[in-house]
């Protein structure tokens, strides 16, 4: 299997652990990943204004790149990229007039976009095309005894027409963790917002969110929390520094990308896990469970 | 390949077993290449049967006559009629079965495939041969025809001389039969309605000009109606005024007739005749092309029926003659039928 891959900015900067663990895992699963040549920013957040087409140009340009690479679908890792690209795609699909306008704006591009590219998240790829049971068959190092809380945040599930699972009670990450042999922990805050981009200007909001989300997960017995969005990862992991300051009763907990857990299970080398990028080092607990 | 000997063997067998009263097939006519319908009652006569790309007629029309004849007989022979059918003809049978015009027991169907090719268009063939006398035409292995003339055998491409409808046929094999000879090969067609395109691409006024010219020609000989297996009505709605007037028709009865159109073959009346016929064939026409073939004035009648066939398929997913149990196009509906033109 071969798949076009759109990384996005953060995976190349702060979230190399996300990318490396994914690429290593997919290699082990026999999936050939082809990074889009010449990709650009996805536009980061989907513009919510009806009259604002210019913000979708970046997204659509990326989808043109996918077309140029002779593919009909593209895989994303970052939940924000997934959300932005997919929503922009749905937007132009349902409104030919704006598609036409955007195409006219990009008159230098060789091809016109027609709304025909499918935007996939890695989780969808794993569930529908590779299939969890096939991943399970390749597990060398089952994640035994590790209690994992899956945090979805906003962008994987909302809005309803974009979300890759039930909007209120998604279970795709839990199901995947079961396939890897782990013990999934359910907690009520799994789709509650982490504060998102407020982290830049108002880190105190994020600290509060992080406190509530992580405390809730810990109360349910979670030992680590997994995420699929580099912004969530940053807010839940690095902002634990601010969280402790604001809430002295807060206890730290490691945050991992779900792909890191997959990489461990598939037996990828430790270099691909890039634990050096974590604020709270997950190594002790993983060591404890005999996983690394 | 349909083996003619097999065909003869099969027909002989059912005649010998007396399962049918007679068999309708094709035999060579006295006038050149084109065959004529053969009515075979004796097993020994099966030797007359032929099967080749010139067997153009849709023999299912004879069932209409058979039914009428039978209705008049005092002690009718209840046995079935054996009928040799091509793909399109078999779909005609399905429509007749669907409309309960015939019963399945009334007919023993001997299906033959068109060898993934089709039937020749007499006029195209004549043009191609430039006046040379043709002795024989056969199917060849490669979807082509082998013709024999005084000059000997030549293989010619079927595409150039096939009947228009065969060029647009998706399944040149029977869909209903008791015996089947040949192979079932589905054809992949890029555009099963190619013949319509030239007209559909015209502007409204150009289309009108085209059809006006065609309809002006019509002399209302009704050959199209007479040959059509679906035109089996006892009395055609367009000519009630004329048909029913007999010596014993009372004046009051005459007043109760509707003059939907005038008898005189002027354009306006011809158009209404053809429109009525087209709409009455919507969802029923199986595109055997006989109407067009018999038209003495070469009016492309098939293009009218084909248009509605296309719309029925594209708008309602309906195809005529595929299944004798389906409910007809106009007596069924789906909730999601398109209605974008409705205000």
């Amino acid at each position: 299997m071969k798949i076009s891959y759109y990384p996005g900015c953060t995976l190349k900067n702060n979230a190399e652990n996300f990318e490396d663990s994914t690429l290593c895992s997919l290699k082990y699963l026999g999936v050939e990943v082809e990074e889009l040549p010449k990709w650009n920013c996805c536009g980061t957040v989907f513009s919510l204004s009806t009259d604002d087409l210019i913000h979708h140009v970046a997204s659509i340009r990326n989808l043109i790149r996918v077309k140029e690479s002779n593919s009909d679908k593209v895989m994303t890792l970052c939940a924000m990229c997934y959300n932005t690209l997919k929503r922009a795609n749905e937007r132009v699909k349902s409104d030919p007039e704006s598609l036409d306008k955007i195409n006219k704006f990009m008159y230098l591009e060789k091809v016109d976009y027609e709304g025909d590219i499918k935007v996939l998240h890695l989780l969808e790829l794993l569930k529908d095309e590779i299939k969890f049971e096939n991943v399970a068959k390749k597990v060398k190092n089952p994640i035994k005894n590790l209690k994992i809380a899956s945090y979805y945040g906003c962008l994987l599930v909302r809005p309803r027409e974009i979300g890759l699972d039930d909007i209120e009670n998604p279970t795709i990450l839990e199901n995947f963790m079961v396939a890897l042999g782990a013990v999934p922990i359910d907690f009520p805050y799994k789709t509650e917002c982490c504060g998102s981009y407020q982290t830049v200007d108002k880190p105190e909001i994020v600290a509060d969110r992080t406190y509530h989300i992580l405390t809730s997960a810990q109360e349910q017995g979670a030992e680590v929390v997994i995420v699929s969005c580099p912004l969530c990862a940053f807010n839940l992991d690095h902002r634990q520094k601010e969280t402790v300051k604001k809430h002295p009763d807060f206890k730290n907990i490691p945050i991992l990308y779900f792909t890191q857990i997959m990489a461990i299970a598939l037996g990828c080398p430790e270099e691909s896990l890039r634990f050096d990028l974590h604020f709270i080092d997950p190594k002790p607990i993983l060591n404890d469970k005999g996983l690394v | 390949m349909v083996n003619l000997e097999d065909l003869k063997k099969e027909t002989k067998k059912i005649l010998e077993e007396e399962r049918v009263k007679y068999i309708i097939g094709y035999k060579r006519g006295s006038n050149g290449l084109m065959p004529v319908p053969a009515f075979i009652k004796n097993p020994e006569d099966v030797e007359k049967l032929i099967w080749d790309p010139a067997c153009v007629y849709n023999l299912s029309r004879f069932l209409v006559d058979e039914k009428r004849r039978k209705a008049k007989e005092k002690k009718p022979d209840e046995r079935a009629v054996g009928l040799i059918v091509k793909g399109c003809d078999s779909r005609a049978l399905n429509v007749l079965l669907q409309e309960k015009f015939i019963n399945r027991d009334d007919v023993y169907i001997i299906g033959v495939s068109c060898e993934n090719t089709g039937i020749v268009d007499e006029k195209k063939l004549a043009k191609k041969l430039k006046g040379k006398k043709i002795l024989k035409i056969e199917y060849s292995e490669k979807d082509n025809f082998v013709t024999t003339t005084e000059d000997g055998k030549t293989e010619i491409s079927a595409q150039g001389i096939l009947a228009e409808r065969c060029l647009e046929c998706r399944a040149g094999f029977p869909v209903i039969y008791d015996v089947f000879l040949g192979e079932k090969a589905k054809r992949k067609l890029d555009n099963p309605c190619k013949s319509l395109e030239n007209i559909e691409n015209l502007s409204g006024e150009e289309r009108w000009a085209f059809w006006k010219e065609q309809f002006d020609k019509c002399i209302r000989c009704y050959a199209c109606r007479s040959i059509c297996p679906m035109c089996y009505c006892e009395e055609c709605v367009v000519d009630t005024i004329n048909y029913a007037v007999a010596t014993d028709t009372t004046a009051e009865e005459k007043a109760q007739r509707i003059k939907w159109i005038e008898k005189s073959p002027v354009a306006s009346e011809n158009i209404v005749y053809h429109l009525v016929r087209a709409i009455h064939l919507a969802g029923r026409c199986i595109d055997c092309g006989e109407c067009e073939r018999v038209c003495p004035l070469d009016i492309p009648i098939r293009l009218l029926n084909k248009k509605l066939e296309k719309e029925a398929r594209e708008l309602f997913g309906y195809e005529a003659g595929l299944d004798p149990d389906q409910v007809s196009l106009i007596s069924s509906f789906k909730d999601e039928d398109p209605d974008d033109f409705i205000i």
Partner: protein
């Protein structure tokens, strides 16, 4: 040639103001076959009608046209007038020159011209009208009531007490419906079971009521006055006559499944009695839960049954009945709670729906009337009630207001306070709808006497937190977001048409509305009738209703049914389809399109059941041969009308 008279109404100035009626009369008099033509100021007045009667007699008219207002207004008036002059009423037709002409045009010349066309076209039609007699239908004086809830019971009792035989069909093993599950009823706090059980007993003992429980209507054919129904009687595998209710069977049955009566709060065996007051009072073997009917598969119940009441060989029976009228009282179900995933139903045992809470309050319920948490059987102190769960939510759930939840939630909160004196009840609401006798006072009592705290806002999320349920809501009155650590949450789920109602509606040919409730014939004037004549609606099958409303509608439906059953014969318009057998080829296209199954094939030709035919004419347009036509609106008539309309 017929002798037609034309009468043009001036309607004061309503017609004469824009139409030159004298010209119309003059022009029409020139028309072939018209032997009389006049105008008058008010044709519908007594002198106006007398003009018509006199003219018919004097000029020996055999057909008349009245050019006046819409036929919906005075067709009957004029037909009766014609009848009184000895004319067949179907020789009188209306030309609508008011609503469709004088009232919508201003130009006198053009309006006059159009009136002439309309009237001529009517003349052309009536010239070819046949004289027809109404079709008379005998009536089977028996009723079928579908659904054994309070509405069905009430309808059946009303019909039976009026002297008509009734078949009451209920699909579950006992009648009683949802009302029998309730603990108390608002606003009087009567014990629901205490008021319903006497009615249930009365229905079961009534000599005129044939009670068929555990049965479903399978097929319905026929028409008003003469319906044929097939009822499937499902096997209970227990002979009610032999069963002594000793309860030995349930003691040995190895299966435990959730008890529907307690909405899963308790369990029941595969062989069970739904609730102690069940009617009929007998056991039922639930074949879906039973390990198998073969004695070899389990058979423990059969072994211990001393009176040998258990019969594994019992087979489903199909019972055919004939009835004159049908009442659909199929009731409601609560909305699928699983669809409200933000409220955690199914995930947290202490999140309940309204009916479950009723069972908890009920003295005969799973807790003997003690309100306890399902999770730990402790008494909850802080209980949150959420209204409009799934109702008034056009985006995701049901668009409509479920109507009963405001009141029953107030009742729930009140009952909670009566059971748990030191408890606190909170109700999240959007609007309180308490229109009903004593209803508003009841809500006020809950607030003032029982201290129920009403919070105006919708709850957004409920989740488990340290043994409590965290409820995130808002109080829009104070503009504060609210968090309550509740011991129990009760969701007032939307009411939905009961499962299977849609399927049944198809069989009955009753239309359903966009929400799946059975449609009434007219929202204001025919609220208990369905569009299909002879079929009536009762109770929550038509829309959410509380008990008094359901009972009132049930009695209304029964009264409507009696208007049919009390007659010996019914009459039906004779403008129905007719077949020209010479032209018919029996292709069955018309049979497929007939919405009333009025057409069938006989000897290769179509035959019309005139009683079923409503005269819509879809058959006639479908027929390729014009072999089937509607009487008095034949293709010939339409053809001549088209000609007249086009002025030629």
């Amino acid at each position: 040639m017929k002798r037609t008279g034309v009468f043009i109404c001036r309607c004061g100035i309503n017609i004469a103001g824009t139409v030159d009626v004298e010209k119309v009369a003059k022009e029409l008099y020139k028309h072939t076959g018209v032997v009389h033509s006049e105008d008058y100021i008010y044709m519908c007045s007594d002198p106006g009608q007398n003009l018509i009667v006199e003219a018919i007699k004097e000029k020996k008219l055999d057909s008349v046209i009245i050019a006046c207002c819409s036929p919906t207004l005075h067709e009957t008036t004029f037909r009766n007038a014609a009848k009184s002059a000895g004319l067949n009423p179907f020789q009188c037709e209306i030309a609508n020159i008011r609503e469709q002409c004088s009232w919508v045009h201003k130009d006198m010349e053009k309006a006059t011209e159009k009136s002439i066309k309309i009237t001529r076209s009517a003349v052309e039609r009536v010239r070819r009208n046949e004289s027809l007699e109404p079709i008379s239908i005998p009536v089977t004086r028996k009723a079928l009531v579908i659904g054994g809830g309070i509405s069905g019971i009430q309808s059946a009792l009303d019909l039976a007490n009026s002297g008509f035989e009734v078949i009451l069909v209920e699909r579950s093993p006992s009648i009683g419906g949802h009302m029998i599950q309730l603990s108390e009823t608002f606003p009087t706090l009567d014990c629901s079971q205490c008021i319903l059980t006497p009615k249930m007993v009365e229905a079961s003992k009534h000599p005129k009521i044939n009670l068929m429980t555990y049965s479903e209507v399978q097929e319905i054919s026929g028409y008003v006055g003469n319906f044929k129904v097939k009822i499937l009687k499902k096997p209970t595998y227990v002979d009610p006559d032999k069963c002594t209710l000793c309860d030995e069977c349930t003691r040995v049955c190895p299966v435990v499944v959730p008890n529907e009566f307690d909405i899963g709060l308790t369990g029941r065996r595969a062989i069970y009695i739904p609730f102690p007051q069940s009617i009929p009072a007998t056991y039922t073997l639930d074949i879906k839960a039973c390990p198998g009917l073969l004695p070899i598969a389990c058979g423990k119940c059969e072994d211990v049954c001393e009176p040998n009441a258990i019969d594994f060989d019992m087979k489903p029976e199909i019972i055919e009945e004939e009835v004159g009228t049908i009442i659909a009282a199929t009731g409601y179900d609560l909305y699928e709670k699983e669809l409200m995933s933000e409220y955690g139903y199914g995930k947290y045992p202490d999140v309940l729906d309204g009916l479950q809470f009723e069972r908890l309050c009920s003295a005969s319920g799973p807790t003997m009337g003690k309100i306890l948490r399902p999770s730990d059987h402790k008494e909850p102190k802080e209980v949150v009630f959420v209204q409009c769960v799934g109702s008034r939510d056009p985006e995701l759930h049901c668009a409509y207001c479920s109507k009963i939840c405001c009141m029953y939630t107030a009742k729930h909160a009140m009952l909670f306070k009566h059971h748990v004196h030191d408890g606190q009840a909170y109700i999240f609401y959007i609007d309180i709808r308490s229109g009903g006798k004593g209803y508003e006072e009841f809500v006020q009592r809950a607030v003032e006497e029982d201290g129920v705290l009403y919070l105006r806002g919708k709850v957004s999320k409920i989740f488990g937190d340290k043994g409590k349920l965290k409820v995130w809501g808002v109080d829009t009155l104070s503009g504060k977001d609210i968090e309550i650590d509740a011991d129990m949450v009760v969701l007032a789920m939307a009411t939905r048409p009961s499962k299977g109602a849609e399927e049944l509606a198809k069989k009955l040919k009753i239309a359903i509305d966009k929400d799946g409730f059975l449609s009434e014939a007219h929202p204001k004037l025919r609220p208990v009738e369905s569009v299909t004549s002879g079929m009536f609606l009762a109770g929550a099958a038509q829309a959410p209703k509380d008990i008094p409303e359901a009972v009132a509608q049930a009695s209304g439906a029964a009264a409507k049914a009696i208007t049919i059953l009390s007659q010996e014969r019914l009459y039906h318009a004779p403008t129905v389809a007719m077949v020209n057998v010479n032209l018919c080829t029996g292709c069955e296209m018309c049979v497929h399109v007939c919405p009333y199954d009025a057409l069938s094939l006989k000897d290769g030709k179509v035959e019309v059941n005139e009683v079923l035919c409503e005269g819509c004419g879809t058959c006639s347009a479908t027929c390729l041969r014009a072999a089937i036509q509607i009487k008095n609106l034949t293709p010939l008539q339409v053809h001549e009308m088209i000609k007249a309309c086009l002025g030629g």
